[in-house]
């Protein structure tokens, strides 16, 4: 399970040089945890009355109802919620589970198990490793790419090229270009309103030519219901695969943590088109808990790999299933 950037990425040979002393890393992690807790405390008042109190009482029908509501409230969805609650009920019936802390612990464990699906690391062995990023409008694709590039370049010393495949949204290319400048990485764009496939082609070609380690292809936001735009996305993928048969090595789907049950449809349809290998769960710094990621992991087996917790560069983090599970119910 990835807890740190160095855990998240699988790289060749010697691990990248430790750039910071251990205490600093420790402190940063502390800071991250604190931020996560802080952001979640905001809704805690609401939830405490709903669930926390119940969890420390004896088990009864009300316990299960409250528990159900808490999970629904976190956007986990009715189906996954029902299964989790049923499982706990069964364990309680078989006397394997008591109320209070034991229930709370078991719940976290169960949620973490569900969230921890598949391989949640990102392999960077291929050179260049091609990462394709897709998602619905406004879910934070460009921002995620900018931050990811920054981490890869600054923390892992990888040379990175960004491909500006969002040729549709007004100023989509400019936004990515600003990020490339901040992260100090390569940037490839096409002429205005260029075909995104050709931009992807150029970016991968440039990355190969320059011997870059990673190339990240941005795409325009699109609703999963827009068949023509989804076909266009499929074409971007095919163009990349034509250049490098194994590529894209990683296809990330950005999901906004505030998204409700429609997130499942998004994940399903994007997967059908471009074989999504991981999620970037963004905007976890609000009061939304992002429980839809749990439903996606549960029903589609797509792991979360990255979480976005704010506007700052360091707010993009590797995903930690246990931490996420705890945050869901506190």
């Amino acid at each position: 399970m990835a807890r740190d950037w160095r855990d998240l990425f699988i790289v060749d040979g010697a691990p990248p040089p430790e750039q910071e002393a251990a205490p600093a890393t420790e402190q940063r992690r502390g800071g991250r945890l604190r931020r996560l807790r802080e952001s979640l405390r905001k809704t805690r008042q609401v939830l405490q009355s709903e669930i926390q109190a119940t969890l420390f009482e004896d088990l009864n029908d009300e316990t299960w109802e409250r528990l159900e509501e808490a999970l629904i409230y976190a956007d986990v969805g009715a189906r996954t919620t029902a299964q989790v609650v049923e499982q706990l009920e069964r364990e309680a019936r078989e006397n394997q589970l008591s109320g209070g802390q034991a229930l709370s612990d078991r719940l976290v464990e169960l949620l973490a198990e569900i969230a921890d699906t598949g391989d949640d690391r990102i392999e960077l062995l291929a050179k260049p490793t091609v990462i394709l990023v897709a998602g619905v409008n406004g879910t934070g694709k460009t921002t995620t790419i900018g931050k990811l590039a920054w981490h890869l370049s600054r923390e892992l010393n990888r040379s990175v090229v960004l491909g500006a495949g969002d040729t549709f949204r007004a100023a989509g290319v400019e936004q990515l270009e600003l990020w490339a400048g901040r992260a100090g990485v390569g940037f490839v764009k096409g002429p205005p309103e260029a075909d995104p496939g050709s931009v992807a082609y150029d970016a991968v070609t440039a990355a190969r030519r320059d011997g870059a380690d990673v190339v990240i292809i941005d795409t325009a936001g699109r609703l999963h219901t827009q068949d023509d735009l989804m076909a266009e996305l499929g074409k971007v993928r095919r163009v990349i695969a034509k250049l490098i048969p194994e590529a894209p090595h990683e296809t990330l789907l950005t999901i906004d943590a505030t998204t409700g049950q429609n997130g499942l449809r998004q994940a399903r349809l994007f997967s059908e088109t471009v074989e999504v290998t991981g999620l970037a769960l963004t905007k976890l710094d609000g009061t939304a808990k992002g429980g839809i990621a749990l439903a996606i992991a549960h029903e589609l087996g797509i792991p979360v790999k990255l979480i976005g917790m704010g506007e700052q560069l360091e707010d993009l983090r590797p995903f930690d299933a246990r931490e996420f599970a705890r945050a869901l119910i506190t």
Binding site: S39, K42, T43, E69, I72, Y73, A74, D75, G77, A78, R79, V136, N137, G138, T139, G140, F168, R169, A170, A171, G172, E174, Q175, L178, W179, L223, H224, T225, Q226, D227, D228, D256, A257, T258, T259, G260, Q261, N262, G263, L264, R265, Q266, K283, D285, G286, T287, A288, K289, G291, I292, E299, E311
Partner: protein, 443 residues
């Protein structure tokens, strides 16, 4: 699965529909399904709770049980209750008697504020002939100002911008003064996306409001938002007391329960619906239709209006005459398809029909199919188009070659045409065809 619960709801209601009496157990079962459907539609769970309680109370009322068709009444109660909660009739912006009317757009990151700003500008220009200016106050997101410059000018609005170095409150103030000086009818202020829990940025939004004294503050809400919509709306209501809501991304397949949550919790009306990437895909919000959508009952009203808007009455009369005389030919068939295509992408049209959703799951409507059909028909002689029964072996081969298709495709087309002709005859005789059966056939 996401859709199965909504389907279940329909199934449960259909089941109730088919029976004569309604027991208390029936009501409870229905309520359970409604609850699940609403939760799957992302209606906030507290709103769901109070909603289902009320439906139950009304459904168990004396005049329900034992009535002639109680099932239909439950459906009606649910639908009415939902429409009532959504706010009855459609609302409007409040215009200032002394222009400019100032509108401030606010919302979370990525909810679609900048696009909605452009769309609203275009809408006001088209509907009221207003001269509109938009102010670029999103100085934080990279390239947001550039985006508004592009979107705003496409919408025919003047874009007031001062780059990203000034404070957004000052830009807003300056924009207002300029709008007054230039005699604009409307000024729309685009602001940065902000989290409802970000105290600093929320305070800034309040300052912008103080600075421009807007007549309307609109909260932009993504239709795909989950349970959190309530927190967002409550916070924004507390800080800037917004006047109405713009729902965006309604062209997706989200059921949009957030609309209901926001309305139920804050009491603020939803004014506009944004339904696509193009600037003209923006319309007044119809609460009753949204109620139907949340329940998965389709959007027949919208479809009917769309059809009315793009259907030529004369052509309709001509078609009716032909149907009566039974000389509806392939030319007319082609014209029909063109009419339907004018309504919008087939996929979205089918989504608006009640009961079709389930039938069409997994079926992709291939828009190119239409081009193929058109090519086949246009490869026929006028006589063949009027009398498709003439088309046998060698004619079929010629048509297939001429249209770049094959003999099977030509056969298939003629078979489809015969079916359509049959259905059209039924419709013209006042009988509604069974849509479900139709869809199965089409497959």
């Amino acid at each position: 699965m996401f859709d199965s619960l909504a389907e279940k709801l329909q199934a449960t209601l259909a089941d109730v529909r088919g029976r004569g009496t309604l027991t208390e157990d029936d009501v409870s079962a229905t309520i359970r399904e409604i609850r699940l459907a609403l939760l799957e539609a992302d209606v906030n769970f507290k709103v769901v709770k109070s909603f289902t309680n009320e439906v139950k109370e009304r459904a168990l009322g004396a005049d329900i049980i034992g009535q002639l068709n109680p099932g239909q009444q439950v459906v009606k109660i649910v639908s009415d209750q939902l429409t009532e909660l959504m706010g009855g009739a459609a609302h409007e912006l409040s215009f200032s008697p002394r222009p400019p009317t100032v509108v401030v757009m606010a919302g979370l990151q990525g909810s679609g504020k900048t696009t909605a700003t452009g769309k609203l500008a275009r809408y006001l220009r088209e509907q009221y002939g207003s001269s509109v200016a938009v102010a670029a106050c999103d100085v934080y997101r990279p390239a947001a100002v550039e985006q508004l410059v592009k979107v705003g000018s496409q919408a025919g609005a003047e874009v007031y911008q001062q780059g990203t170095d000034r404070n957004p409150v000052q830009i807003a103030k300056w924009a207002r003064e300029r709008a007054v000086a230039e005699g604009k009818d409307v000024l729309i202020v685009d602001t940065s996306g902000r989290l409802h829990v970000d105290q600093e940025l929320m305070a800034e939004l309040a300052q912008i409001k103080d600075a421009v004294k807007p007549h309307d503050v609109l909260l932009v809400v993504d239709a795909m938002t989950g349970q959190d919509a309530v927190n967002v709306a409550e916070q924004f209501a507390k800080v800037v007391d917004f006047d109405g809501v713009v729902m965006t991304k309604l062209d997706g397949d989200a059921r949009g329960g957030a609309a209901l949550s926001v309305k139920a919790i804050t009491g603020k009306p939803i004014l506009f619906a944004s339904t696509g990437e193009k600037l003209d895909q923006f319309e007044r919000f119809h609460p009753d239709r949204m109620a139907q959508r949340i329940l998965g009952m389709g959007d027949v009203m919208t479809l009917i209006e769309k059809a009315e808007a793009s259907y030529d009455e004369q052509q309709a009369a001509e078609l009716e005459r032909k149907l009566r005389k039974q000389d509806f030919g392939l030319d007319d068939f082609l014209e029909q398809m063109r009419q339907v295509r004018r309504l919008g992408p087939l996929q979205s049209l089918l989504g608006m029909l009640p009961g079709v959703g389930k039938e069409l799951r997994g079926v992709k409507v291939d828009e190119r199919e239409f081009d193929r059909l058109q090519a086949i028909i246009l490869s026929m002689t006028p006589q063949e188009r009027r009398h498709p029964e003439l088309i046998k072996g060698s004619r079929r081969l010629r048509i297939a070659r001429g249209s770049g298709t094959n003999v099977q495709a030509v056969k298939q087309l003629i078979k489809q045409f015969e079916q359509v002709r049959k259905i059209m005859r039924q419709v013209s005789q006042g009988r509604m065809p069974d849509l479900g059966a139709l869809m199965r056939q089409a497959r």
